[in-house]
């Protein structure tokens, strides 16, 4: 196998894995989203903030690293999507920025805006933030209105390589039903995980009953919308790429083909789905608490990883241009050079060490 080909897939798998870990860690946002309604009393709010507040930095750092890894391994995606879908990314950015100081400042003496302001910030991050992240990820399947012309850099009057074809700059993603559906799925996944996470805490007290009532609605809604998205994805026409010529062409049931062609992705996906369903079934059968959260979390992680792998593997255009399909981004035309991917691959050997100390911290800070 060609080294560049291997490394492009290796890095897509790693970036996808970071994205999948991020979805699991969005349980922090899921818990925050309970702040204004479910967690209505002061003690309930404090409880949510305390437990989400111990873990928010890991979620935040995963988002930052996801961005950094995408930049390093697929810079054309970074420049095309971030520079083109400007408003979509700026909105996500703002919704995460307001989270970063809210845990610390909410009840500090001297907070001139009052605790409520920061609770609203946390709520917005937990609801709208997760929804828009899902919308942005949805564009891996629905594409964007961009063009890419690398020769543009030779035009001093208008040198931008990537351009967005309309003035909405990414907000047009909100007009695509499939993106909206994925936004809802991610929001519901985060909330389901957030509720299960809070139920693992020993001092959650009477708030547990509220969480259970919410979960009785949220978890089935998550499963139903997730199934709807997956079915839609499998039935959807995707775009393949000929690695030799770079030509991009429409292919019916592309994502279903990807799943069937790369068998181990299907195994990962099925394992993820089984874990999610088993974890939720255990919860509703009233068996265990801590393991339910980890089962559903691990299941969501595996299912999302498989879906993201499906978006780029098996010669697939992962970011389709709705203006000119030949401008679409693939692992081959958007990646960093062989040298850089190699350097980064050596660096990635340290990732298990990083995961090890995060796990240590996680266990100690229960």
């Amino acid at each position: 196998m060609d080294a560049l080909y291997f490394l492009q897939h290796y890095w897509w798998a790693l970036v996808a894995l970071l994205g999948a870990i991020l979805v699991f860690l969005l349980f922090v946002q899921g818990a925050q989203g309970l702040l204004l309604r479910t967690a209505s009393s002061e003690s309930e709010k404090d409880l949510v903030v305390k437990y989400a507040g111990h873990k928010w930095e890991i979620t935040f750092t995963t988002l930052v690293t996801f961005g950094g890894a995408a930049f390093a391994s697929f810079p054309l995606f970074y420049s095309t999507s971030f520079g083109g879908a400007y408003w979509l990314w700026i909105c996500i950015l703002l919704l995460f920025v307001i989270q970063a100081f809210s845990f610390e400042y909410r009840k500090d003496a001297g907070n001139i805006f009052g605790a409520r302001t920061f609770e609203i910030f946390l709520f917005l991050n937990g609801t709208l933030g997760t929804f828009l992240l899902g919308v942005a990820v949805g564009t891996f399947f629905t594409g964007g209105a961009f063009t890419v012309d690398k020769v543009s850099i030779t035009d001093a009057a208008s040198p931008a390589i990537s351009r967005w074809a309309n003035g909405w700059h990414g907000l047009d993603a909100l007009a695509e039903p499939m993106n909206l559906l994925l936004g809802v799925v991610v929001f519901l996944a985060a909330r389901t995980l957030g509720l299960l996470y809070l139920l693992t805490k020993p001092d959650v007290g009477e708030f547990a009953a509220k969480c259970r009532r919410r979960l009785a609605v949220t978890a089935p809604a998550f499963v139903l919308t997730f199934v709807a998205f997956v079915v839609w994805m499998f039935l959807k026409t995707g775009y393949g790429v000929d690695p030799a010529s770079g030509e991009i062409f429409a292919e019916r049931f592309k994502y279903l083909h990807n799943m069937l062609h790369v068998w181990w992705i299907a195994v990962v996906f099925l394992l993820g789905v089984v874990l999610v369903l088993a974890g939720l079934a255990k919860h509703f059968l009233d068996k265990g608490t801590r393991t339910n959260f980890y089962m559903v979390g691990a299941g969501a992680l595996l299912a999302v990883w498989a879906i993201l792998l499906c978006a780029g593997f098996n010669d697939t255009a992962y970011y389709v241009s709705t203006v000119d399909v030949q401008d679409s981004l693939t692992l081959y035309n958007s990646s960093s050079s062989l040298f850089t991917l190699k350097v980064m691959a050596w660096v990635s050997i340290a990732i298990p060490f990083v995961i090890a100390y995060i796990v240590w911290m996680w266990r100690k800070m229960r």
Binding site: E57, I58, G68, A69, D108, K150, S337, F339, T340, I351
Partner: protein, 519 residues
């Protein structure tokens, strides 16, 4: 016109974000180590006083840390949202340090920060101490990687241009990581953080002493901070000298702007204090004007700083535009510097060759591809000059860079005096016994001064390198995203409002926390 407006707004947005970010990061860099020293004392002695002191400073660290994190993520996104051409043109090189920063440094600091801040009763005393040290090291490690990336933009090396992909690609990771500019920049920036944190600790402690509160905490904190500060300042000054030398070799226009030097000379003097003449402009129009209305200079000092020889030639702004002088670069190569117009012609030749290469590739003409590639390689060093229209466009904002540089140096000298005074007066027990309130007030008013000093340093580094995002290869007008200016104006206003509001809350909370004292 639209492109100019877009570039200006994008520069403003990035500058505002970076300056706000740099309000919080230096304190994090330095306070992390100060806290680690204090907790080490606690673990070694078992004295609860040091635990209480550590916790007090740790709370201030956390208040500040949150804002550093919030503003930091915006910078990372803005490379893509506002500088998308840049992201493609050099993403192959610039992205790697950014990703490594995330994998190694950010996870380290965020993971161990959680243990440090919330884990007093959850891990052993030693595990907590290790976490505190790892938080401090993590914050400094993240500075390593982002400063490597920044230094590469000022002194690009370890790469080659690939005409097939129309971008620069990394060929030597070690050259990027071990760049002398990067090493010097890292040491200069982090020691700036250490000095800032030391002044901060001294100022808060001075306030306690004036109020006759927390006297032991304040005095011991002053001892730790003044020693840490003076050692850091020594490294800061040494690396400041290194910075000036590097700038002279890789960005001579920045050095000329720092000194308001329009016409170069041998035995060039270093301006200690000066007022620029606003009528002085580059080129023949400003030839009759003196660059300064008033100045006091050290003879030959600039030549020595820039060339390590008292009679070395230092080019001024006009020399750099006109060329024709002998120049020795950072690698020791000596050549006659081309004029702006020669560089522009070569830049245009390089860009035209790239277009020719792409056209030949489309047509399948391998011979023409080879010729175009050879032409591109021959002229690539001046690629970015194609986008620079007039010679004056090469000149950064001279007054801003000049005054920022001199304010930074003057305040640096002032901090030597400040640390020495606090060391002498504290160790001789004069501050409290003799009631030297003036020194305590001096400590307090040093807080705004140290922030001005720190921001001035970044103004010199970043405004001084304009118009380049990548020195000589990519100016700002070729690096910007293809969005309409109104979008950037809107986000700029949003960011300014948000940052300012949050800075207000941060300061308010910080002051209340200080008033509360140790618990």
């Amino acid at each position: 016109m639209l492109l100019t407006t877009l570039v200006d707004l994008s520069r403003w947005q990035f500058a505002v974000t970076a300056m706000y970010h740099w309000l919080f990061v230096p304190l994090t860099l330095g306070l992390g180590f100060l806290i680690a020293f204090m907790e080490t004392r606690y673990v070694m002695t078992g004295d609860e006083f040091w635990k209480r002191t550590t916790k007090f400073w740790m709370k201030l660290f956390a208040i500040n840390f949150a804002m550093g994190v919030a503003t930091g993520i915006i910078l990372e996104f803005e490379f893509g949202t506002n500088w998308s051409n840049y992201s493609w043109f050099v993403g192959d090189i610039f992205g790697a340090p950014l990703a490594i920063e995330g994998i190694f440094a950010f996870f380290m600091e965020s993971t161990f920060f959680a243990v440090m801040y919330f884990g007093w009763n959850k891990v052993s005393r030693k595990a907590h101490l290790v976490s505190t040290w790892l938080t401090a090291i993590g914050t400094n490690l993240s500075a390593v990687w982002i400063l490597i990336a920044n230094a590469w933009m000022q002194y690009p090396l370890g790469m080659e241009f690939n005409p097939d992909t129309a971008r620069s690609e990394m060929t030597d990771f070690w050259a990027v990581v071990s760049s002398p500019v990067a090493i010097n920049k890292f040491l200069h920036s982090v020691t700036n953080g250490y000095v800032l944190a030391s002044v901060f600790v001294i100022a808060v402690s001075s306030w306690f002493l004036l109020r006759k509160r927390e006297q032991t905490l304040a005095r011991k904190s002053i001892r730790v901070a003044s020693v840490f500060g003076i050692i850091s300042l020594a490294v800061l000054i040494a690396t400041g000298d290194g910075s000036a030398y590097n700038v002279a070799k890789v960005q001579p226009m920045k050095l000329a702007a720092m000194e308001g030097l329009y016409d170069g000379s041998e035995k060039a003097p270093l301006v200690a204090v000066g007022v620029l003449n606003p009528d002085k402009v580059p080129g023949p129009e400003g030839a009759d004007e003196d660059p300064y209305l008033f100045e006091i200079s050290f003879p030959s000092m600039l030549s020595y700083l820039a060339t390590r020889q008292a009679d070395g030639f230092v080019p001024g702004i006009n020399d750099i535009i006109e060329g024709g002088y002998e120049f020795t670069d950072r690698q020791g190569n000596t050549y006659v510097e081309p004029s702006f117009y020669e560089k522009k012609a070569r830049g245009t030749a390089a860009v035209t060759a790239l277009a020719d290469y792409q056209a030949a590739k489309e047509a399948g003409d391998t011979l023409a591809m080879g010729q175009a590639k050879a032409m591109l390689e021959q002229n690539f060093d001046y690629f970015g000059y194609h986008y620079v229209e007039e010679p004056e466009d090469l000149v950064p904002n001279v007054p801003l860079v000049f005054y920022a540089f001199h304010i930074m140096v003057a305040l640096g000298m002032f901090f030597i005096l400040l640390f020495v005074l606090f060391i002498v007066f504290e160790w001789k027990n004069l501050i409290v016994r003799e009631k030297h309130k003036w020194l305590l007030w001096l400590g307090i008013i040093s807080v705004p001064l140290v922030y001005i000093c720190s921001q001035s340093g970044w103004i010199v580094a970043e405004v001084g390198r304009q118009p380049w995002t990548i020195q000589n290869l990519l100016p700002v007008n070729a690096a910007v995203s293809g969005v309409e200016p109104g979008n950037v104006l809107t986000t700029l206003v949003i960011f300014i409002c948000l940052f300012t509001a949050m800075l207000g809350v941060e300061i308010s909370i910080m002051l209340r926390q200080i008033k509360k004292g140790g618990e």
